[in-house]
Symmetry: C2
């Protein structure tokens, strides 16, 4: 078994050998934050943001003013969407930025099930342990459109499997909505296999990329994915509450219609036309005014990810996650905590969940001393590893602190 | 008739006597912007924002990180909503920030008509010249819920009148959706009278405050208004695409349900509950994660408006608008342009529309020389007067430039 002394030495060696180590200094790091293990929930800010916002305020907004709309702001959801899309395997013209994940889920779920209703498909398939907002949206849409929900009962330490999907889809399935990475366990789903199985049954497939975008390579186009949504304030470091992104496969775009008909989705925005005519492309999924100010931070992180490449990020993510497991084995699991995530390998994402009944109290103590994982009821601490901003030493310090506080709580 | 020499002298005198003159220096003013006449569309940034964003990035986000959610971010839509609500006559607990105007319109229109459907009310009343997104939302909701739209035919140089509303509402009216200030003409509607007339008929009333919030006093509570939405990037200077705000009268909140059921609207957000249970208060109108980063600029402007008071802002707005009319009479109307806004007085908001067939071309020329009004097809220039950031001299310079470019276009 790995001992604490081993893991401290291992962390130092891994940091020394890390080809991405220099990037950790590109993020705001304050001495009061001893260890940040929650970049999977809210990514750290880049230090460059101070200057970027100063420029945006003083120049883009401050001097171009309303002219900014003609000089790039109107295209921003699509230009930035193309760049973000490239990070998840989407060719240009299929990804866009806007609204919140919840609102985009509503729009795309509605668009999908409304399009399928003509062929008598009346069922939505979803995991019973998916992130609550996904379930709540599906419940609401099912109720208002008279549809049935088919729940996949997932292992909470894993996620939906291809076999489960194959067993549940059929001629009545309108839509399958699943998470690429399970928010609780970090399980990575088989996107290509599940998408093929669902599409073979005639269903549309919507992937929630919230816990994978920016950290795990995704091949949306190559996997034949129909629809996707994702979050930009986790591994995309867009800032608290930054807008979501959506993906609609090109050949589906004009076949779908979403219900929140706003001026920004109209064929001719400034015609102020008497009746709504949806744009003949991706723009029909937009509703209100593009969130420009809210995407300044996101743009900076997309740039950094373009430089580094998501494959390199994933490589460090795997190394960090494997190391975190070793560190948990040394400091925390011997105290009776249990790892509730998949084993090392391709089905494990960039966070680990470890459970213990004392973890709610332990998390409070950790936060007070600047060690910041997050807690998910009833008893889980999530150790999230955002590769570009996290050092191995930080993981070791943080996990050792979890052990210390758990020991104190049990004393 | 007023001559150009008169208006230049008058502008100087009005600036010298303006009790709010000092505030114009609180906004980013670059020499390249000769005259900004579009604060009604996108308010200028406050110079203090550079420091506010630096603090937000370096401290709030950078060091508190995920702890920020417990330390105020979760309450932010409601705390800032209360403060913004006070500016439009709403007691605490009824206004909130989130989504875009279009998405909030969808939620509140759906909530209203769904609640009214039990009593057989199947009609939505709206102006035929309301802002396109309002009409598009109503069209979409009417189609999906099987409702009828009753259009009020408005005078485009004015807006919906109390008499028109009285004539159209009845026992089948579910909802009346009107603009407080008409986006085209600047006409100020009789909120109290129209609300009373609609409610007498058993209808719910939703006011669009996009073109009035922050510049014209509104008495939502005192007028018995049911619902309202508004924009924060116009007279509230929240930055391009900043989130919207909504208002739901307290005693209606639990009687209404909106369709975009997200985790942030659930009774217990972090219970990750198996089924959606809406919060027993205003929070049920939320869907996704609160837009924190996107409201840093808005908060700064709300603070300034709290200091100055909306009554004082309105006073300067009236003075600016009256002066702009005099300046237009001196420089522009003699060239064949026509004023398409209400006469001076309480039914005139904070922008004037002036029309001429050459104005599309004229606007392009104006923008190129740093004089920035906006253009609304087919032939309108809007002269928008954001009181805290606009000087009388700036209006005079801008309107004189409109005259010069119109003369050049006609030559």
């Amino acid at each position: 078994m790995t001992t604490p002394a081993d893991t401290a030495a291992l962390a130092a060696a891994l940091d020394a050998a890390d080809p991405l180590a220099a990037h950790t200094a590109a993020f705001v790091r304050d001495p009061s934050v001893v260890s940040y293990l929650d970049g999977n929930s809210l990514g750290r800010p880049l230090t460059a943001l101070e200057q970027r916002f100063a420029r945006f305020i003083g120049h883009d907004w401050g001097t171009r003013l309303i002219r900014g709309w003609d000089e790039g702001w109107m295209r921003r959801p699509y230009d930035l969407g193309d760049r973000l899309g490239a990070l998840v395997g989407a060719a240009a013209g299929q990804a866009f930025i806007g609204d919140s994940t919840t609102v985009l889920l509503y729009k795309l779920v509605r668009a999908a099930v409304d399009a399928q209703s003509a062929s008598g498909r009346t069922e939505i398939v979803i995991e019973d342990d998916s992130f609550p907002t996904d379930r709540f949206i599906v419940e609401g849409v099912a109720a208002e459109r008279g549809l049935e929900i088919r729940w996949i009962e997932v292992d909470r330490a894993a996620g939906a499997t291809l076999e489960q999907v194959r067993a549940i889809v059929g001629e009545r399935t309108a839509l399958v909505l699943l998470s690429h990475v399970a928010y609780r366990s970090g399980h990575v789903a088989d996107v290509a296999g599940i998408t093929a199985a669902a599409r073979d049954a005639g269903a549309l497939v919507l992937w929630d990329l919230c816990h994978s975008a920016g950290v795990i390579p995704t091949a949306l186009d190559a996997s034949g994915v129909d629809l996707a949504v994702g979050c930009t304030y986790k591994y995309l470091n867009g800032g608290p509450g930054s807008p979501a992104f959506g993906y609609v496969r090109r050949d589906l775009q004009t076949a779908l219609a979403q219900p929140i008909q706003g001026w920004m989705g109209a064929a001719d925005v400034f015609a102020m036309a008497p009746r709504y005519e949806p744009a003949p492309d991706l723009r029909r999924f937009a509703s209100g005014t593009p969130p420009v100010l809210a995407t300044v931070a996101l743009e900076a992180m997309v740039e950094l990810l373009e430089q580094v490449g998501v494959d390199a990020v994933r490589e460090k993510s795997v190394a960090l996650t494997d190391f975190a497991e070793a560190s948990l084995e040394a400091h925390v699991l011997p105290l009776g905590a249990r790892l509730a995530s998949p084993p090392a390998g391709p089905t494990r994402g960039s966070h680990l969940t470890v459970t213990h009944p004392a973890f709610r109290e332990v998390t409070e103590r950790l936060w007070a001393r600047g060690v910041i994982p997050d807690f998910r009821g009833p008893d889980g601490i999530r150790v999230g590893l955002s590769p570009l901003s996290t050092t191995f030493a930080e993981v070791e310090t943080g996990v050792a602190a979890i052990g210390e506080e758990l020991r104190a709580a049990l004393a």
